[in-house]
């Protein structure tokens, strides 16, 4: 299935997909940052929770699911590590560089001929080169440093 492009109204499914994808990517980046910095700065959950004026259980909930994060809580969590988010990069689909990450099994499946027509079709799947020459923009960057 291709990205939604063109002038047609965006489908509800696409809207829902991209919203959730955005949430998931921000969450993943945040969790990576927290995990890395907590180990490096030797900061415990209790210490982080205290810094943002929450209890550890609340902090666990915040970091348990993308749906629990708000812009405010993201900012608070970063501040606990003396960090903030840089304004994130916005990229047009047409300007995206192709990703250089392609699992070997996925590559071999995508190189296969389409399945025989037995009523089972695979859109965005076998036989197509899915990694089209559109880029993969930079991730949201978090900057650590003195406040």
């Amino acid at each position: 299935m291709n990205s939604s492009t063109g002038n047609a109204p965006k489908s509800r499914r696409d809207l829902a997909y991209y919203r959730q994808r955005f949430r998931n990517r921000v969450f993943s980046r945040l969790v990576s940052f927290v995990a890395e910095q907590a180990q490096e700065q030797k900061v415990t959950k209790k210490e982080v929770a205290e810094k943002i004026r929450k209890d550890p259980a609340q902090l666990s909930r915040l970091l348990g699911s993308p749906s629990n994060l708000t812009l405010d809580t993201i900012s608070d969590l970063l501040l606990a590590f003396d960090a903030e988010a840089e304004p994130f990069a916005i990229v047009l689909f047409k300007d995206r560089r192709p990703s250089n990450q392609l699992h070997p099994l996925a590559a071999s499946v995508l190189d296969m001929a389409p399945p025989s027509a037995e009523g089972k079709t695979q859109s965005a799947g076998a036989g197509e080169k899915i990694i089209k020459p559109i880029g993969h923009g930079p991730e949201i960057s978090f900057v650590a440093g003195p406040v």
Binding site: S11, T44, S99, K120, G125, K132
Partner: protein, 172 residues
Amino acid sequence: MSIESEIRDRVRRGMLFLLVPKAAGAPIRRVMLVGEDLWSDLESPEGDAEWEERIGKLRADLEVFVTEEKIVPRYLFLLYPAGDAVWEIRSVRDRPSLRVLGLFAAKDIFVSTNHARREDLGNWQSREWKAVKRLARAVWRKLFQGYEPIVTTNANEVCSGVADELFYRERS
């Protein structure tokens, strides 16, 4: 024949489908293969607003396994008993909360076998939970008779990039 060859064969025969990120340019760090039932939901024709919302979000949640560098601890769960090797991916944003079950053919290769709504499953010892786990094993056997999935309690052995410890723990 390797499990990878078997997988290619099942894809060729339309029994499994490779989940390719919908967003152009997204990486494919890990492989998720989806069974026919779930695939037909993901590719279903347009439904009502609630269905569209749910399917869009489910797809984005499944693609986390495929695209993200880090996998958070609560994304992927090993179901009891560990020896059955059935794992669960949760899509919980909206009601109904969904559970996608599957097994690992190899590290970073997840075969989704079945899915269910959380509200239909009851507590973890319920008959319904046991049924979906049994179904996961049955679908695996149907797909890969003679091949065992990875059996382990350590998520790092089935999936790269698992963030198992978020915070520093003081050791006494």
